[in-house]
């Protein structure tokens, strides 16, 4: 299944990219798994902190136990900083 992943703020900066389109053979996948696949290296190196990265699916804030469906738009970003 295809998942579009977006990055904003410091997360985008750290990864050096703003968007990635991923295709998974597995059609039963949690946000937790996706996050590990995409941000695991940055978490491991300390470049990003797991606690400080928020997640949304189809523009709604959500938690890591959320399961994903084909076509979902996922985003990873820091806490909002407002204006």
């Amino acid at each position: 299944m295809q998942i579009t992943v977006l990055f904003f703020g410091k997360v985008a900066d750290t990864l050096g990219e703003r968007q990635r389109v991923l295709d998974f053979a597995d059609t039963d996948m949690s946000l937790f798994t996706l996050r590990q696949s995409v941000l695991g290296t940055a978490f491991a190196s300390g470049a990003l902190s797991r606690e400080r990265v928020l997640m949304s699916v189809n523009q709604g804030l959500t938690q890591e136990d959320r399961s994903l469906q084909a076509g979902d738009e996922v985003a990873f970003f820091p806490v909002f900083s407002g204006g």
Binding site: F8, G9, K10, F80, G83
Partner: protein, 152 residues
């Protein structure tokens, strides 16, 4: 039901034009309170030349709408306007303009104050300060969190 308008602006925010428009549209209101915020040129790190306000098209607009609608539901107001910049904003440029119209001055003050406190913490924007020799992503301060607690 209050009239609520929100604008997310990747280009210049012209508070004077928004002020004129809002005042003309609400001549029947007894009280209008507005807030205009500009990018400060000085921070603890030194002179800031500009900000980058990263945003998530769709979600950021929705966050402004959610905040404005919460204010309209909470206070006795006739109209609210929220305009917020995104993208690159130069020092001393306007970054936010908020207006509240009401029959009562206290409600107008409180609605504008509330809008600003929530925008500072909950608008879906990510702020980077760029200056001579430094650039940093800004997170909400303890003060911002305290400001928000005033309304709970």
């Amino acid at each position: 039901m209050a009239t609520v308008e929100t604008l997310l602006l990747p280009q210049a925010l012209d508070g004077q034009t928004l002020y004129r428009r809002f005042v003309e549209a609400n001549r029947g209101a007894g009280a209008i309170v507005t807030f205009s915020g500009r990018v400060r040129g000085e921070t603890a790190d030194g002179a800031v030349s500009h900000l980058w306000l990263d945003w998530y098209p769709g979600m950021t607009e929705q966050s402004l709408t959610d905040i404005a609608e919460a204010a309209a539901a909470r206070f006795d107001v006739l109209a609210l306007l929220v305009a917020h910049r995104c993208g690159e904003v130069q020092a001393e440029d306007e970054i936010v303009f908020v207006a509240a119209a009401s029959s009562h001055r206290r409600a107008a003050f409180e609605a504008a104050d509330y809008l600003m406190d929530r925008l500072k913490s909950e608008a879906a924007l990510w702020k980077r300060e760029i200056g001579e020799g430094f650039a940093r992503w800004v997170e909400p301060t303890a003060k911002d969190a305290d400001d928000l607690k005033r309304w709970t």
